[in-house]
Symmetry: D3
Subunit: 254 residues, 6 copies
Amino acid sequence: MSGTPVAPSAGLPASVARPSGRAPSQMREVRIERGYTRHAEGSVLVSFGETRVLCTASVENKAPPFLRGKGEGWVTAEYGMLPRATHSRSDREAARGKQGGRTLEIQRLIGRSLRACVDRKVLGERTITLDCDVLQADGGTRTAAITGAYVALVDAVQWLLKRREIARDPIFGAVAAVSVGIYRGVPVLDLDYAEDSACDTDMNVVMNDGGGFIELQGTAEGHAFRREELDALTSLAEAGIAELIAKQREALGL
Amino acid sequence: MSGTPVAPSAGLPASVARPSGRAPSQMREVRIERGYTRHAEGSVLVSFGETRVLCTASVENKAPPFLRGKGEGWVTAEYGMLPRATHSRSDREAARGKQGGRTLEIQRLIGRSLRACVDRKVLGERTITLDCDVLQADGGTRTAAITGAYVALVDAVQWLLKRREIARDPIFGAVAAVSVGIYRGVPVLDLDYAEDSACDTDMNVVMNDGGGFIELQGTAEGHAFRREELDALTSLAEAGIAELIAKQREALGL
Amino acid sequence: MSGTPVAPSAGLPASVARPSGRAPSQMREVRIERGYTRHAEGSVLVSFGETRVLCTASVENKAPPFLRGKGEGWVTAEYGMLPRATHSRSDREAARGKQGGRTLEIQRLIGRSLRACVDRKVLGERTITLDCDVLQADGGTRTAAITGAYVALVDAVQWLLKRREIARDPIFGAVAAVSVGIYRGVPVLDLDYAEDSACDTDMNVVMNDGGGFIELQGTAEGHAFRREELDALTSLAEAGIAELIAKQREALGL
Amino acid sequence: MSGTPVAPSAGLPASVARPSGRAPSQMREVRIERGYTRHAEGSVLVSFGETRVLCTASVENKAPPFLRGKGEGWVTAEYGMLPRATHSRSDREAARGKQGGRTLEIQRLIGRSLRACVDRKVLGERTITLDCDVLQADGGTRTAAITGAYVALVDAVQWLLKRREIARDPIFGAVAAVSVGIYRGVPVLDLDYAEDSACDTDMNVVMNDGGGFIELQGTAEGHAFRREELDALTSLAEAGIAELIAKQREALGL
Amino acid sequence: MSGTPVAPSAGLPASVARPSGRAPSQMREVRIERGYTRHAEGSVLVSFGETRVLCTASVENKAPPFLRGKGEGWVTAEYGMLPRATHSRSDREAARGKQGGRTLEIQRLIGRSLRACVDRKVLGERTITLDCDVLQADGGTRTAAITGAYVALVDAVQWLLKRREIARDPIFGAVAAVSVGIYRGVPVLDLDYAEDSACDTDMNVVMNDGGGFIELQGTAEGHAFRREELDALTSLAEAGIAELIAKQREALGL
Amino acid sequence: MSGTPVAPSAGLPASVARPSGRAPSQMREVRIERGYTRHAEGSVLVSFGETRVLCTASVENKAPPFLRGKGEGWVTAEYGMLPRATHSRSDREAARGKQGGRTLEIQRLIGRSLRACVDRKVLGERTITLDCDVLQADGGTRTAAITGAYVALVDAVQWLLKRREIARDPIFGAVAAVSVGIYRGVPVLDLDYAEDSACDTDMNVVMNDGGGFIELQGTAEGHAFRREELDALTSLAEAGIAELIAKQREALGL
């Protein structure tokens, strides 16, 4: 990881008036509240500014059908948005009778991201389901969900360890996610809704605490983005994720 | 209404050891928190003890198809339970592809209950949707939802009044709901999950501030209930609802 | 139970011109025809005036998944309305791809009501499904369905007893249902469609032959109803159900 | 049409012991009961022996979307089977969430068959829906449905004519249907369930009163059928349909 | 079978100007290309003129649930049409969430037709699924599908024989299908789209190589068809199917 | 863009034995066949080695509901896989009743990618739907689909221009896509199935002919990937896409 991760690449402007007044490399206030609800083995309310996502981790003592009898477990995610989490009310997916493409895409991303830090053989024939439900949306719900779900996952694994259901910790490292984008020509960190809906390029980055990339999904909304923009964005993301991983550790009391 | 509403009828025992240690006519602690999320025209987090329901009211400037052109509005409700609101995780209805019978039954009840206090002609060709999403369940989610949704509805109507979109307040009176039941032979107020799953009779009562019944749904879980038990239960409910309406007024600053 | 069950409470008017010309406490003509179709273990056509419901009881020699291996059986119900059972044709639920909330609510009610008179341990690992299909609707389809389904259930149990598949009768008592309501200020028994669509309060009451309440579902359609109205309605229902249980016994040759 | 329609072709045996004791060219008793239910514009209970189908015709004053503004009407059909119309209970299609292939195939056949005798321009922008619901099944439900639905359709058209909504009768001729098959090597008319499930070839034939074929659907269940068998079967069908059309005329008082 | 199968019956005109310039008894060019894709056990691209259908045969080593443990196998079919196989784009059935009635009807026909030439006991507890996907449609897709699927089925069975998974060939005879119709009063063979959408009668005929009928589905689109038209059509079909079976043998190198 | 785009970053090995015997920076044989089917306005069969995708472009003269009256058009995509395009048969999505998350994710990606090169105001209120159906899969179906769909889109636009339905060409630049990955520690271009299922990191890259990124989706399958691996992969992709754009131009005769 670069010693000066937040410096944009040569040739890119370094400042812009963000709607929130934040500096380009400044994240929103991040809060991670453990034990938000009482029934789940892990339950975390994560906030990235006004974006609030409830992430619960539920342990079941069986593997999904495709893994039965293989001695491995599974970590999966489901994502939902309360109908009025957004500016205008959106239809309830349960009432419409199916989950939309965006929902499926996000929950697949969350699941893959968290499986990247779990040794599923150590987990044994168990399933941990991470339910990420957006109570209030202001941009970055999927990155907040991944960041919060990691903490809920750790809590669920600790619950298993305490009950001696598993012999050792199947989690290696930490996983967090952040969005970055080009807003009015300037690479910025942690887009809120106002920026997200107006930016040229939007990228979601999932990384681990070793500085490795787990997922990287960049989309040109306006014009195509150049190699140096990609570089600047990944540098910003690296810095943001380092902050997030520190927040996770603090929340977990590590 | 009786002057001593909480006194059980002759012949019914008056005390029992409730799991929570409450007296038979004692409600759980009720909290009503307005403005819980920011986008909805009304947003209330209501708690009946450990049961927590987020109720949002969303205003749309059109009537549903069956009312188009009739100069009347509509008030409707949707109900959902987060997958891990309960002791063990239940399937996400959006993923299963349909809402279950219990969900549909509850959301129909909430909608009917709140329409009972709205003059839909005064509302005009608008729809107010009350989304009641259970964050944590410990019995009584439908009664908490109705009680909280009323407050969210008032806030949404105030929002319309402030913007002068409607000329006068279409809400008359107040509506609240509570459950009552026969637990180990004793009529008790406001069942929590431990009581609900063990009681003989379970009744949900919706009333207005004039002491009138809007909905009354009683079910014999064990043995059939007698007329005097019905009387005792409705008396308990009357007392509980009076408390709830006071809480609503307090929350609304009335 | 009161000695004069049909007398309305003090203060309520005692007479009204019902569309059908019936007295307030007069039921429609009730007919119960056993053996209406030949394949089912129990098959009853029940008529409450012009409301006609075909109730069949089907026996299967296995319990539903949630009861497997517990030595208990299950009694459940499904409800349907033929598309042109009503004044104007309604969509076929099979074509729409889902059962509506009203249908689910009614079939849940029928199932709960009949389970209230069955000792499911005596039934053993069997399922009895009561299909209640409305051939013609004129108000009160759910109460007719419960009343007829009870007779079909008895026939199915007799079929099991005759074949010596079960050692003794798992049914205790009888179950019947009737609707009551406030029509033009007067409590009336057994609402037909004309009354149902114009009444202020509508209540469905399910009782057993011991005079106990199994279900009670009251809804204020116009204004909220008062305690004395509730009393008058339950008294009317008690009288109506006594008549229905006599009709059931007569049909069964008891 | 042959003068001796029921004589099997040369080389085919002419007699067989049918389970019902009928002669090869003998139909079951056919009954057509008009006005079976009261709300529909046409309502017919048709019985072919123990097969009983309720056929209602519902008139709507609008054409389906694909015909809007073309000055033509539509005649369509829906088919359903009550869950316990059959020997063992089949799942309710509304509960399963979709109509099966057999159902769709049959209702498409009924619709096509009846459109063959209607001048849709004379009908004007109206839709007549024929709901054919099987109360009891014993083979031949689709042919009974077509035969009964024709009578319901005539009644609905008469209703339109009486109200002077249409200027003249859009129906030309009559339509009826019957099944034929090869049972133990012998061509037989009007298969019941016992024959249907054991026969080698099964053919459903829809004809009009001019002796013309509207639909002909033959399936070899066991071995492929030969040209002379086809000839014998169509001859049997011609005779059966002549009987059915006479029954229809009698029921209609023509 | 008649010695002069293509001669129309007395009284029917023998010539007509077909849109394609073909003689009444002339088929379109038929091509059968084996091994069109590489993963399936049988994969055939069949063309009837501009109609092109990809037929794959997939072998699975288990019987469907209703045959488990009976020592028999199953042959089934699925049919699909690519959205732009037709003149104007049709909705994708996967996106609409269900297969239409026409699709279900066709795939049931294909399955029944091919089961007619398979000894399912010899096949053992295996399922062969024939997927027939229309790449381009110009009339006659179901008859092309049956004709091509037979060849794919033979290839899949040969694959099983080569691997010695089955002891002997379960296929007896050959199966092919063709459409015939009355176009401008003249019986014609192998309708293309232009004829199909304008013809009076449309008949799909499935036969085996012994000249026996497996399926015969005739529909009067305009006026009802007469017995002599039926005769003329089946004669035409016999001739066409003989050609198709020769093409199948040629493709299979027999 | 680097002058030597295919050279891996310092520290990464440069050679590996690929299952196909290709060099790390070598693509599979790419073929683009226009006019593959005849009804669509654009119809392209694209092959990346054994991966074959049929891409059709269909023009409709109306915008989707959310754009009505805005004077803009829409470009969208649907993706499907024939059941036996793969090694073992997968369920038909139309039969299962819904499109899976992977399908929805891919068709959203294709649609976004192609909208990135279309001026939708110039297109006017029209919709162009790109149906990408995989006839045979061997890895890289989504990148082949994007590459082929671009050519089908150009053909559809040329069709509009020829008919003078639009005044000028709404397409700017070209769009193509390729996958890259880390296979046994070495960055390789254009993964086939054998590599895809065994690789550590898999990245799909969509670029335009100006060297700009439109989409970039990287997933760590095994270990997280490092910054220099990301650099090497994007360089490989740049080289591959330049080849693909040359193939597109050649196919279009530019």
